[in-house]
């Protein structure tokens, strides 16, 4: 009987000590990391396009943190899904096609002579990249435009085009040597932007 008591007491004491140690450690060595929402938001491309069904990247980041699928961001594309999967330690899944397709980065361009100055696109732009005033022509600040498409539907005269950004000489990057096929002899297959 005494043995039993001793054994039980010992175990309880050990359990208590270990528990306190763990508890102490969790308080003492608490990691002050980025909250997960911010980390997710860092990965999202910040186009604020709403293709995911949420009104911006931050809300989608919050939704992901609460269990929403990670494959609802077409601008982020495959690379974005991979990064999210790595961060959240979940499996890589394919892009949800109901949200849209991964395309080349785009920029909005207003055909300025057709613009009637209704300010509707200015209100729609999530990053304030369109300037103009009522009854005056509007224009897109190209450097600020995220290519989210949100300004296109509100335009009553359909004068906004989404133009793909073709890599110019400045944006050009060296191709992956692992993908360069020796048979493919011409370096001129890169799309060329013609300006007259």
């Amino acid at each position: 009987m005494l043995d039993l008591i001793i054994a039980t007491t010992t175990l309880v004491v050990i359990a208590f000590l270990c528990g306190s140690l763990l508890g102490y450690a969790s308080v003492r060595f608490k990691v002050e990391g980025n909250p997960v929402v911010d980390q997710i938001n860092e990965i999202l491309p910040q186009t604020q396009c709403g293709q995911c069904g949420f009104p911006g990247c931050k809300p989608y980041a919050e939704a992901i943190a609460n269990g929403e699928a990670i494959n609802r961001c077409p601008p982020g594309g495959e690379a974005g899904i991979k990064a999210l999967a790595e961060l959240l330690d979940v499996e890589v899944i394919e892009l949800d096609e109901s949200c849209g397709e991964e395309t080349l980065p785009k920029v909005a361009v207003i055909r300025e002579d057709e613009c009637i100055g209704c300010t509707k696109c200015i209100q729609a732009c999530p990053v304030d990249a369109i300037v103009g005033a009522a009854k005056h022509m509007h224009t897109v600040i190209e450097a600020e435009c995220t290519g989210c498409d949100l300004c296109v539907p509100p335009c009553p005269v359909d004068c906004i085009d989404m133009v793909e950004i073709r890599p110019g000489v400045e944006e050009w990057t060296w191709p992956n040597p692992a993908n360069t096929n020796p048979e493919n002899t011409s370096p001129l297959q890169i799309p060329v932007k013609h300006i007259s």
Binding site: W174, P175, P177, T180, N181, P182, N184, T185, S186, P187
Partner: protein, 353 residues
């Protein structure tokens, strides 16, 4: 297309490097054949062929073009290295299992040449040594000592059937004229020590010295090949130098501590696979450390482990285990021995000033 410079290239291709290493094995192989019989040649063919066949099969399964890979001669080299490391009369199926395992598991399943973390030949060797310790230590005595040596056809019979047509087994060939069964010097030393004999006593045994001479010559042969590799800069000096130096230092210290229990450096340098290990096994670039300092550490640690395992371990020969252990450590060694990049040292200095 070739978009990027340089447009100049001058280097021995990988396949030629492997060829050169194979060529450098020849002096050692010839001496080994002379001292230990034709079984060595049969093993070379057996293991070489098995290695190529295994590589071919796996590449076919992996849907790669087998011939372009086999042409790099790396599989052949793995087979040949294993062939010279195993006893000359090892049953053929063991050689096949060892070589096949080396190529399929240790090399191809990791992704093929360049991706294997372990030295394939040593993985095959250690697998055999652990699985078949008796057969793997059943070396024939050196030719000058043996009562009878197997002819080419007898060797084949021993390897493929287990007995010669006259009914002799491998063990019959291991018996000396005085009825004494001979093992390798390392093995012999270990057994005699457990019987309480002193090193000086063992060394003074007549047949032991004669047997050691055969092993020493084989080691000289591989060392000669190794010097050719160094001279042609096929391998760099760091690993062999630190490996041999470490063996000398460690064994000398132990010998100084207790000369009767631990053998001197000159014994360790010429027995077993020391020279084969120094120039052909540890220098396998894929699984070794790749930084200059790292290679010194890598070689030194293998040398240290070899002496320790030979003296204190359960197995008489230690190169295989030591190499595999350090293969594991190689990435870590590389990480901590990254050379000082141009301009970085001076930057640090200026910070301290």
């Amino acid at each position: 297309m070739k978009l990027s410079s340089p447009f100049f290239h001058h280097a021995l291709p990988t396949s030629k490097v492997m060829q050169l290493v194979i060529a450098a094995l020849i002096p050692g192989i010839l001496l080994q054949v002379y001292f230990f019989g034709y079984g060595v040649i049969i093993n070379l063919f057996l293991c070489g062929f098995t290695a190529i066949a295994a590589e071919f099969l796996v590449l076919k399964l992996r849907d790669r073009d087998p011939w372009s890979t086999i042409k790099d001669n790396s599989a052949l080299l793995t087979g040949l290295l294993l062939a010279v490391a195993i006893p000359p009369t090892l049953p053929f199926w063991m050689s096949i299992v060892g070589t096949g395992f080396a190529i399929v598991f240790a090399k191809q399943l990791y992704g093929g040449l360049g991706f294997n973390p372990f030295n394939p030949a040593m993985v095959g060797y250690v697998l055999l040594l652990i699985s078949f310790p008796v057969e793997m230590t059943a070396w024939l005595p050196s030719v000058e000592l043996a009562a009878k040596t197997p002819s080419l056809s007898e060797s084949m019979q021993l390897i493929f059937v287990g007995k010669t047509s006259s009914g002799l087994s491998v063990n019959d060939f291991r018996i000396l004229a005085d009825g004494y069964t001979m093992a390798t010097p390392l093995d012999h030393m270990k057994t005699e020590h457990t019987l309480g004999k002193m090193s000086s006593e063992i060394i003074s045994q007549n047949h032991f010295a004669a047997n050691l001479k055969g092993w020493a010559w084989v080691n000289y042969g591989y060392a000669f090949g190794g010097i050719i590799l160094l001279a042609t800069k096929t391998i760099r000096w760091q690993i062999p130098a630190s490996f041999l130096l470490s063996i000398v230092v460690t064994s000398s210290l132990l010998h100084w501590w207790d000369p009767e229990l631990y053998n001197p450096a000159k014994f360790h340098l010429v027995t077993g696979a020391t020279m084969l290990g120094a120039f052909f096994i540890t220098t396998d670039p894929v699984s070794a450390s790749t930084t200059p300092k790292g290679r010194l550490i890598y070689g030194a640690l293998i040398g240290f482990l070899v002496v320790v395992i030979r003296n204190f371990g359960g197995y008489p020969e230690a190169i295989g285990f030591a190499v595999l252990l350090l293969n594991l450590a190689a990435p870590t060694i590389d990480h901590y021995t990254k050379p000082q990049v141009y301009g970085h040292q001076t930057e640090k200095e200026s910070v301290h000033d």
